[in-house]
């Protein structure tokens, strides 16, 4: 079930009302209800893969308890390995099996042997597998590192794994945040609910108006890049930056907003990454739940930045390569990760990777300084460049795109594939950037205006925007579902 579908528009109010009116007496019943709703939510896409979620849930529930009750470190390690192997095994089979087989065949052919790939399988990628496997793994890891006491309540744990607002595309929650809320009594909170509704509205705007409306342009340019001049290719990849941001951050906003309706606070996943002043700040603002996951469970266990510079650099490279690989079974994502490692390392070596940790651009000012604008533009340019690999179907396409950029270095006016006015999209993006800049200090309050009238105008304009750019003919699924 998609967040931006009529099904969800009906599903959500029903679940919301039943949750607060009928099943609110006991926390156990409330959790059982939300678990059932989550399974319905997921099962409507493909019920067969519910068994995978259930298997992952059962394994990690018992592994968590076993780790906790094991007295020797060796036993604890064995149990942890079972959890990691099972979850990585699921991912490996459903997401990476064909990639490994094909890469192996390619490698053999480079060595001069002609090996026919007969081992590849027709595997459907279960939606959300990268997200919930990481979430369940984090549970076992936290227990292993003694940061968490396992729950003895299976229903609560199953609800933590499959909580529908964040089941299919995150934010990837840690048990210390989400599970503790699931096991505690939730009380209806008016402000939390209205904040949730506002976030849902803003998320839908980002998805429908920003991401979906420019998707046909991006698709056209990337599909026919050999026919376009450099100016069009730059336009295509720049628009893709906004598309993927609108798509994924829109999804995250809807997820966080929906969770709020049920009295649950999820972690922020995006904090206006397009206003980052360097690549390090970008990674503190983009897909935060994944970055945090890697930092906690891979980077820090490897030694993080507390080891020698050389080892730290190694750790950074590992993190970015894994992060790239997490996104998809394609060399394009690995190169995308490698580019980010290359961009991040100089910032790290100069000691500038944490300088913007707790600040936003134009912190106490209305306008950013010229230097800040240049920094933002440079960061956007670098990140956007890396997206050529993120968006291309194959390495050949990505390099072909870059070659075309270099060899056909000219300006040419671009026309929308369906003949629509391009100026509409430029005005839209301009206004969107300005508005995001206006609200840049709080990603959870997109309609923070003192005046009720202005707030009302903002709601109306956002809905009007959705109508003005609504297109029923395009694919409305979210980009990150494929990961």
């Amino acid at each position: 079930m998609l967040f931006n579908s009529i099904d969800f528009l009906i599903f959500l109010p029903i679940v919301f009302l039943l949750y607060w009116f009928i099943f609110c007496k006991k926390i156990q019943i409330q959790n059982l209800f939300i678990l059932s709703a989550s399974y319905i939510f997921y099962g409507l896409w493909d019920w067969r893969f519910l068994f995978l979620i259930l298997a992952s849930t059962i394994i990690d529930f018992f592994v968590g308890q076993s780790i906790y009750t094991s007295d020797s470190k060796k036993k604890r390690k064995i149990w942890l390995r079972i959890s990691v192997l099972f979850n990585i095994g699921l991912l490996g089979f459903f997401k990476y099996y064909n990639f490994f087989i094909e890469s192996w065949v390619d490698f053999i052919s480079i060595l001069g042997y002609d090996l026919k790939s007969t081992w590849t399988l027709q595997i459907i990628l279960p939606i959300g597998i990268s997200f919930y496997t990481f979430q369940t793994m984090s549970y076992s890891l936290d227990i292993y590192y003694k940061r968490l006491t396992p729950t003895t309540n299976f229903i609560s744990f199953a609800t933590f794994v499959s909580f529908f607002p964040q089941l299919v595309a995150g934010p990837i929650e840690r048990a210390s945040n989400l599970l503790s809320q699931i096991t505690s009594k939730r009380v209806f909170n008016y402000v939390q609910c209205t904040d949730g509704l506002k976030l849902i509205l803003w998320g839908l705007f980002k998805k429908i108006v920003i991401a979906d409306s420019i998707a046909p342009i991006v698709d056209d340019i990337f599909m026919n890049y050999t026919e376009y001049s450099a100016s069009t290719l730059v336009l295509g990849v720049s628009l893709f930056s906004f598309q993927v941001y609108g798509d994924f951050s829109g999804y995250s906003d809807i997820a966080i907003g929906t969770a709020k309706l049920f009295g649950i606070e999820l972690m922020s996943n995006f904090k206006f990454p397009n206003f980052s002043r360097n690549v390090a700040e970008y990674w503190q603002r983009w897909h935060i739940s994944l970055s945090t996951w890697f930092r906690h469970y891979v980077y820090i266990p490897l030694g993080g930045s507390r080891v020698s510079k050389l080892k730290s650099v190694r750790n950074i490279i590992i993190i970015f390569l894994i992060s790239g690989f997490w996104h998809g079974a394609n060399w394009t994502f690995i190169i995308w990760g490698a580019i980010h490692a290359i961009l991040y390392i100089p910032v790290f070596l100069m000691g500038r990777n944490r300088i913007y940790m707790n600040t936003v651009v134009a912190e106490n000012r209305v306008f950013p300084s010229v230097i800040e604008i240049l920094q933002i533009l440079l960061t956007f340019l670098l990140v956007t460049f890396s997206r050529v690999f993120f968006r291309s179907q194959s390495i050949t396409d990505a390099f072909g795109f870059l070659q075309q950029l270099y060899t056909n270095f000219s300006y040419e006016a671009y026309h929308h594939p369906s003949g629509y006015r391009m100026i509409d999209y430029f005005i839209l993006l301009g206004l969107f950037i300005l508005y995001e800049f206006r609200i840049r200090k709080d990603e959870r309050a997109p309609f923070k205006f003192k005046s009720k009238t202005i707030r009302f105008i903002a709601y109306t304009l956002v809905i009007l925007g959705m109508l003005l750019f609504f297109d029923d003919s395009i694919d409305r699924s979210f980009i990150y579902f494929q990961f």
């Binding site: 009529i6 607060w20 006015r421 009302f456 109306t460 109508l467 609504f470 297109d471 029923d472």
Partner: protein, 320 residues
Amino acid sequence: MKKLIIKSTIYFFLILITLESLVRVFYLGKDTPTRFLDEYKVEKWVPNQNGFSVTGNRRQNFSEYHINTSGFNSYREFTPTKDKVELALVGDSFIEGFHQHYYNSIGKKIEKNLPKIEVYEYGYAGYDFADQMHLVNSYKNKFDLIDHVILGIKFSNDLTRGEYQVVKNRLALESPINKLLKKSKLIVYCKSIGVLDPPQKLVQRIINLIKPKRKIIPLDDIEVLRIKKENEKKYLENFKSLVSKYNFDKKRFTLLLDSRITNPIFLSYLQQNNFKYIDFSTYFKDSNHPTTLIYDKHWNNHGRELISQAIIDYLTQHIQ
């Protein structure tokens, strides 16, 4: 919770009212003229209506229409006499031309080039050949005074029936509930851009769930071909039946068609039986510019120019 429900409801209605106003202020929703069935059971628009036809989410196509006293979208009244030279264009929405300013219609373009001719545009969305022949026959006195009658025809669409009957589905659009819904420009706008499609599809999905499923047997290629041939035969028979019933005047009546989408058997039938026709396919084929609108397949201004040119060329070549 009570507060949330009350405030959400108030906000919901306030937003709807504001959106309704915005849609009206920016003229995002189209006007739809009222249709009716006259004394001859000819379906047409209620005379003397004016409005704007709007296409696209962001008013990408915006044009004014004017329904004349005869009940058709035209800049002029239809007053044929024996002394003047008149041309009637009869057809569906392509001739009706709500997607163009009524002063920039095909008829107007012809008149600019052939100033001595008055062009009467009898276009009405959804008219097939039976509708057209019934109209011509019902207003025989008027049409007898018109020197040339051009009837637009699409073989696969316009010949599905062999005799005229009132199309109830179209008239159902004038039902009280539809009339009421049409009063909200926001609903009209949402419907035109497809916002209301998902709820409608959902209702359909629910109905399909409740209804017992019928087995759909996929047709093989031979069967598909057989049905196609049967249909073509039926369409030709329908054409024969209509021209004989309504005394198709071969001298004055000319068909307007695109040979690229017309069955060759039908074309050879027309040739063998001395039916005159204007084939505009070559004009469209040779065009370097798009001939249709972005949002639908109706002719754009360039397309209309080409159609008018095809008619002008035909008139100047064949008629003194």
